[in-house]
């Protein structure tokens, strides 16, 4: 059985009709993640796109066939830690999963995520990174790429978009010595599925997956290109695919083929960038890429002897 027939045969644990934008690859990611995790799962969806589209429901309804709840924007990891602690105490093995946007993860929820990672709380934390607070109108987050137009870093005479580079949360999480960190994107679906399965199997601490989800609505490109953009992000090296398992760094996709200019020029949020500004982004990508090539195969954290 191939991956896709396997996935098709699994029950879709999300409501078939949720109001995400057409072409939303976060919806695709969530459906796939839930198929891999199965019904023995408790799901936390903080305020953000997935909450906004009805995954937690409306009124007296629910949007999922697994228990799902709204934590606050800034306490996802802590609420899950509490749930997991109780289920551990009563001896029941349950997948306790966060599916949180970059706002709730890289900005507001970073403190409690770091605390949960440090304590070794056995939760699965999946961040869907669409580089901004997309649900509420595309405000910037720390995970937004430098130079991007967002509603709070608009482009005008006095401003050229976001001034700071993207905060590298996956490596920050790796430095917490948690048993598993991975980056993924929906275009590389086999890789994403494998990583979710790996996270599900982790029994010694927090498993963190950072998924890159280009947002057609917020970034300004055609919905049909949703998967194509996700693929290009990896091929340009803008979003490298790697994992850190028990401290060992492994670069998954090593072909950095394309340069980033055509990728960036294909979406409205970078349309204003000059060639020099794009060169700066390219330099940063190249610098980071060589660093990751160097790290490939190295032990960069604790080897899980905890």
């Amino acid at each position: 059985m191939s991956l896709v027939t396997e996935l098709c045969n699994k029950e879709d644990l999300l409501s078939p009709g949720i109001s995400s934008c057409i072409g939303c690859n976060v919806e695709l990611t969530l459906r796939t993640v839930l198929k891999v995790l199965g019904p023995n799962t408790i799901l936390a969806i903080p305020p953000g796109c997935m909450g906004g589209v009805g995954v937690v429901g409306w009124g007296k309804t629910t949007g999922a066939k697994v228990p799902v709840f709204f934590p606050l924007l800034d306490n996802v990891a802590s609420m899950l830690a509490g749930i997991k602690l109780y289920y551990e105490k009563i001896g029941r093995d349950v997948n306790v999963v966060a599916f949180a946007g970059d706002g709730a993860t890289v900005d507001a929820g970073l403190q409690c995520l770091s605390g949960a990672a440090e304590r070794g709380d056995k939760i699965i934390y999946i961040c869907y990174d669409n580089e901004g607070y997309m649900n509420t109108g595309f405000q910037r987050s720390a995970s937004t790429t430098k130079g991007a137009w967002t509603s709070t870093t608009p482009v005008g005479e006095a401003s050229r978009g976001k001034k700071q580079h993207k905060k590298d949360l996956p490596l920050i999480m790796a430095m917490h010595d948690i048993p598993y960190v991975a980056t993924a994107t929906p275009a590389f679906m086999l890789d994403l599925v494998r990583k979710v399965e790996k996270a599900k199997s982790i029994k010694t601490g927090l498993a963190y997956i950072h998924v890159y989800n280009p947002c057609p609505t917020g970034w300004g490109f055609l919905p049909a290109m949703s998967i194509h953009m996700s693929r290009e992000a990896v091929k340009t090296g803008l979003f490298p695919l790697y994992e850190v398992e028990n401290g060992k760094f492994r670069l998954n996709y090593k072909e950095k083929k394309s340069d980033v200019k055509s990728y960036l020029r294909n979406m409205k949020k970078f349309a204003h960038l000059s060639d020099e500004e794009i060169d700066e982004i390219q330099c940063k990508i190249d610098e980071k890429w060589s660093r990751l090539l160097y790290l490939d195969g190295l032990l960069i954290g604790s080897d899980g002897g905890n």
Binding site: C8, I22, T62, P223
Partner: protein, 88 residues
Amino acid sequence: MKDFIAPIGEELYIISTGDWRTHRPVKDDNKCNQCGVCALYCPTGSIKYDEGKKFWINLDYCKGCGICEVECVRKAIIMVEEEGRKNG
């Protein structure tokens, strides 16, 4: 609906997202080699698989995004404009 003392939800919330689309995917079964890439990438899970029909498109919740058209290697799927909505 039941009476709850605290805010919880029980019934499944389903929106008729099939009503949204302006374009509909149409698969040419002659060109299709049943690779399943369209099903892999369909955000709404509208491309199904079963032993009988193999990969087939269920239009109930399809939003007409066109990812399947772009991703199909064989160009077996084309997005065609939706006909006008019927009254009633």
